[in-house]
């Protein structure tokens, strides 16, 4: 599964990675998998203001992305 990152998450992980995620994994499970692989990014990934996005739409933790979908993790926005 392709995963994109922005801001401080991109800086601590990468702008884009491929992650082996089990079919049927939710966004919350994908986040846990990412934290296991990239423990340095745990704080911004778990921040309550961080969001996940699929197809340019914000999704909740229980959303189950298709394997072919790209999931974007957005750290807390800075505002303008």
């Amino acid at each position: 599964m392709k995963v994109l990152f922005y801001g401080r998450l991109a800086e601590s992980i990468a702008t884009e990675v491929e992650v082996d995620a089990l079919p049927g994994s939710s966004v919350a499970q994908l986040r846990d998998r990412l934290i296991a692989i990239y423990p340095q990014a745990e704080q911004p990934l778990r921040n309550v203001r961080s969001r996940a996005c699929v197809g340019d739409t914000l999704v909740h933790d229980d959303y189950v992305p298709e394997v072919a979908e790209t999931v974007e993790f957005l750290p807390p926005v800075s505002g303008g």
């Binding site: 922005y6 801001g7 401080r8 991109a10 340019d56 914000l58 750290p75 807390p76 926005v77 505002g79």
Partner: protein
């Protein structure tokens, strides 16, 4: 309503001119210009800001805030222009303008626009200076300013 994500230097006078040119029958225009400060919140020098943005959600956030300001205050025109990319200290970073029949609605709309933009516009900002660089996020005061609108 106009919302623009600008990757080149922002010209506030031009943006104000565009807003004034759109007004017809309005009696008030209020505008705000935000400038990249040369000093961080802890007093370190800042040479430039990097405003990273999302290819879709950033402009959508600007558009949503502009529309909601217009609806909330019943104003006739809103113009929001926001920089992205690298912005040297001292350069304009945002223009927010509102036009309405009467001044109070225009003042309130401009104030509301900036409180929402400061906390909800989809940007990730990093300050860079001689001491290094750091990602920055809204302050508790910024959230309190936004929350006073309910």
């Amino acid at each position: 309503m106009v919302a623009i994500l600008e990757d080149q230097r922002l010209d506030p006078q031009r943006e104000l001119g565009e807003l004034l040119a759109e007004t017809g029958g309005d009696g008030a225009v209020v505008s705000f210009v935000g400038i990249a400060r040369p000093e961080s919140s802890v007093g370190a020098d800042v040479e430039e800001l990097l405003l990273e943005h999302h290819p879709v959600l950033t402009l959508k956030s600007l558009e949503d805030i502009a529309v909601e300001a217009a609806e909330r205050f019943g104003i006739s025109r809103v113009r929001v222009v926001h920089r992205c990319g690298r912005v040297p200290a001292g350069e304009p970073i945002v223009f927010a303008g509102a036009a309405s029949k009467h001044r109070r609605a225009a003042f309130n709309a401009a104030d509301y626009l900036m409180d929402r933009l400061k906390t909800e516009a989809v940007f990730w900002k990093r300050e860079s200076g001689s001491a290094g660089s750091a990602w920055i996020e809204p302050t508790e005061a910024d959230y309190a300013d936004r929350d006073r609108w309910g």
